[in-house]
């Protein structure tokens, strides 16, 4: 009994202390926020002298550049500063933070709270839209654009002369992509397009002086490389499944002038447009008959952090695991950096690109392009603040320079959507480090086009089913025609269901 009494006493004491601690916590939480330590500058100081875009700006006081989420303030504890919230996917948070530091230096009346989202960005944002979470500026992918606008998740920009001037300086593809029904919805984060890359040393050693211009030439070169033992599977394609995988099918189809969906979302394959079927038949033969690519290995979702086959070590210096691969233009920079690629040759550009080979010599060489932009969610509480941040991040800084766009190109080779900065001497110099023919790059850029049907809400379901059918064709579980017919039927069913 005495023991029991002690235990009861113990519990009671525990509960009392717990309640007391909780009450104190509650009181603390309800207490007014402590006053700011220092008064802020009442007016914005003049813009600091333009720094070199590759230099990190001096961090704002008390800012922790790598902390997540981070609040940046030019004047620590500024009482009048408006806090803006930026959300983006988790790409290079420290560099984003440096860009924001500069924004706050130039605009001390703002703080910026930056939250990089490490998980599934789409699901995360959709959940926040649903919960009406206040956000000021967000990253937007082109595949989200139409449905987010139609669903009322985004609000249009204020169409000022400044915004119109920025749009006038963009490449048409980028300017068009960010508009919907005559309204402008963002300013560009970066843009890029796919290129057909090749290892120059490998094709030269196989006896070819120029890269392939058609798929027949590609087959011939790949077979020769294989026969000479330079590479077992000279051609790599991303054949994995996923909402953002298997871009190669778009690349090969576009390069030969084909399309998959028309503007109404109706599938044009396998009969109305014969290119997709011809491409898939070529792929099946490449994997199973000519054995120039390892389709099964290429179906595996790439392991994060692993070198791409173009960058893995081949049988001798300058050789990669494969000789040909299609990928983003910005990958060329890493392809040719010896510290990031085992097939790179120091002091030489070994991985080059060519206009994407098509089914015949008259192919248009079109490629998929994409746009990533800064948009303003409809839940943004402070439109002026959002506009100020978006104009800095996606346009010019206070010194009149395309600061962040240029910086992304110089540091990470992320493409610029604006025309004028491409003639900048620093940009030209940087480009020459990994691209030998900048005129060819601009030509390829002009051939970029958006993937078909991104505006339809059923796009992802259709696209992943298409990928599964393509895989089944490559494994010879279905004929290419049957696979594409099944995919086309699926598209029609999804479209019909959407209208239900």
């Amino acid at each position: 009994m005495a023991d029991l009494g002690k235990r009861m006493f113990g519990r009671r004491v525990f509960v009392r202390w717990g309640v007391a601690a909780g009450g104190l916590g509650l009181l603390a939480a309800c207490a007014p926020a402590p006053p700011a330590a220092q008064a802020p500058a009442a007016t914005a100081p003049p813009a600091p002298a333009a720094a070199k875009p590759t230099d990190a700006p001096k961090p704002a006081a008390a800012a922790a550049p790598t902390a997540v989420p981070t609040t940046v303030s030019a004047a620590a504890g500024a009482t009048q500063a408006t806090t803006l919230k930026l959300l983006g996917w988790n790409y290079e948070p420290p560099l984003v933070q440096e860009n924001l530091d500069r924004f706050v230096q130039q605009n001390p009346n703002y703080k910026v709270e930056y939250e990089p989202i490490a998980g599934d960005y789409l699901v995360d944002l959709l959940t926040r839209f649903r919960a009406k979470t206040p956000m000021d500026v967000i990253y937007v992918r082109d595949q989200y654009h139409a449905s987010w606008v139609e669903s009322g998740f985004l609000q249009p920009l204020d169409e000022t002369d400044e915004i119109n001037a920025l749009y006038a300086d963009m490449f048409p593809y980028n300017a068009n992509q960010m508009q919907w029904k005559g309204k402008k919805y963002g300013l560009p984060y970066y843009t890029d397009f796919d290129v057909f890359a090749y290892n120059e040393k490998m094709i030269n050693d196989a006896g070819f002086s120029a890269p392939p211009a058609t798929l027949d030439e590609l087959r011939k070169q790949a077979e020769t490389i294989k026969q000479k033992g330079i590479s077992e599977y000279p051609l790599y394609m991303d054949l994995s499944k996923g909402s953002d995988q298997m871009w190669d099918y778009w690349m090969y189809t576009f390069a030969s002038g084909g399309h998959l969906l028309d503007q109404a979302g109706e599938p044009t394959y396998p009969d109305k447009d014969k290119v997709p079927l011809a491409i898939l038949e070529w792929w099946v033969a490449a994997a199973n008959d000519w054995k120039i690519m390892n389709a099964q290995a290429n179906m595996e979702v790439p392991t994060a952090g692993a070198l791409t086959p173009l960058r893995t070590q081949g049988s001798q210096a300058g050789y990669g695991g494969v000789a040909f691969a299609a990928h983003s233009r910005y990958d060329l920079e890493a392809d040719n950096a010896p510290e990031r690629s085992k097939s790179a040759l120091p002091g030489k550009i070994n991985i080059k690109f060519v206009l994407f080979p098509g089914l015949d010599a008259n192919s248009p060489h079109n490629v998929p392009a994409w746009n990533r932009y800064y948009g303003i969610p409809s839940t943004a509480p402070n439109k002026k603040g959002s506009m100020d941040l978006i104009k800095y991040l996606g346009g010019k800084d206070k010194s009149g320079e395309y600061y962040t766009a240029k910086r992304w190109w110089l540091l990470r080779a992320l493409g610029m959507a604006y025309k004028s900065p491409w003639t900048d001497s620093e940009v030209v110099d940087r480009t020459s480090k990994f691209i030998t023919d900048s005129a060819l790059m601009q030509k390829a850029n002009s051939l970029g086009q958006a993937r078909d049907g991104l505006e339809f809400p059923w796009w992802t379901d259709w696209y992943m089913d298409l990928q599964a059918n393509v895989q089944q064709a490559l494994l010879k579980q279905k004929s290419p025609r049957d696979a594409l017919q099944a995919s086309a039927d699926k598209a029609r069913a999804l479209k019909k269901e959407e209208g239900r």
Binding site: M1, V123, F129, S151, E232, M299, E300, P457
Partner: protein, 311 residues
């Protein structure tokens, strides 16, 4: 009993302002736990079911509407349903068989009086300490088609002439995911069976030896009957885990090649989080839950119907 009376008396004296029955007092004490369970478990379950009766795609939230059982009709008539069900049952069956056979073997070895038995038992437990995600990533490297350990081993032994893809080959993708799952879930089952083995009285084996029973006869007539309950537990745990499998599929094969390794759970994930169709995704999830429930009831009847275990 005396303590309980004392407690009740104390409560009535101290709490003179309100009298509580024993039952009400018990509920009061359990209230925090009940509220927590209602909030964190019951509410999401009911809400998920409610959502499964609606058309609700996050890409088109304005099209939200009550559709009754239409999502379930769509799931059952989907061209993916039967193949996914087949893959799920196939995966569950072979995972369960694989785990049972190997766990039994491991438990029998670990139950023997061999040197360093404690170390052996600790090693058996090791894979259990790893999460499904870590296990899947480890096996992804082992199965890597370009630099994987399995390819390296088989190539160096001269058993294969070229590195190959184990995860995306129609012949080996099932085997690969079953292997990864068996490796990860084996230790728990081995532990359960080992506990069962240690509960068998040694006199039974002594008596069988006196009767000149062979090793097989001792296993068949002594060990197995005594292990029937632990085996049933292993079967239940493995079968239910197999039906709900997601992480290994997600990380190793992504449901491919084609739809070859797409299970019901993975289809639910794709519908909910890739297609962002929350209504239909919940219908897929409830279908998995229904299947799990049916199998659980079947096993429970087996387990409790024998009379050895009382509910």
């Amino acid at each position: 009993m005396a303590a309980a009376e004392t407690l009740a008396g104390a409560r009535s004296v101290r709490g003179a302002r309100f009298e509580l029955s024993e039952r009400a007092f018990a509920y009061l004490l359990n209230l925090p736990a009940i509220l927590t369970i209602l909030l964190l478990v019951a509410y999401p379950i009911v809400d998920a079911f409610w959502l499964s009766l609606h058309r609700y795609n996050l890409r088109r939230p304005e099209a939200y509407a009550f559709v009754g059982l239409q999502n379930y009709v769509d799931v059952f008539t989907s061209d993916q349903f039967v193949p996914s069900l087949g893959v799920t049952l196939f995966f569950t069956f072979w995972s369960t068989i694989g785990v049972l056979v190997l766990a039994l073997g491991m438990a029998l070895v670990a139950n023997e009086h061999i040197p360093q038995r404690a170390i052996l038992r600790a090693l058996i437990l090791l894979p259990w300490a790893m999460s499904g995600v870590v296990t899947a990533l480890m096996w992804k490297w082992i199965f890597n088609p370009n630099s994987g350990a399995l390819n390296g081993l088989l190539y160096s032994l001269g058993l294969i002439s070229n590195y190959r893809s184990w995860l995306m080959s129609p012949d080996t993708s099932y085997l690969a995911i079953v292997t990864a799952n068996v490796w990860n879930t084996l230790p728990f089952s081995a532990l359960v069976l080992l506990a069962g083995l240690q509960a068998i009285p040694s006199e039974l084996y002594d008596a069988a030896k006196v009767d000149r029973a062979s090793l097989w006869a001792r296993f068949r007539h002594v060990t197995l009957p005594w292990l029937s309950q632990p085996i049933l537990i292993v079967l239940i745990v493995q079968a239910l885990g197999g039906i709900r499998i997601f992480d290994i599929i997600y990380l190793l094969t992504g449901g491919g090649p084609g739809y070859q390794t797409t299970t019901l759970g993975f289809a639910a994930y794709v519908t909910s989080f890739i297609s962002t169709d929350i209504g239909r995704g919940n219908a897929w999830s409830y279908t998995v839950a229904l299947l799990t429930l049916v199998i659980a009831i079947f096993y429970m009847k087996l387990l409790y119907g024998r009379g050895d275990v009382r509910s």
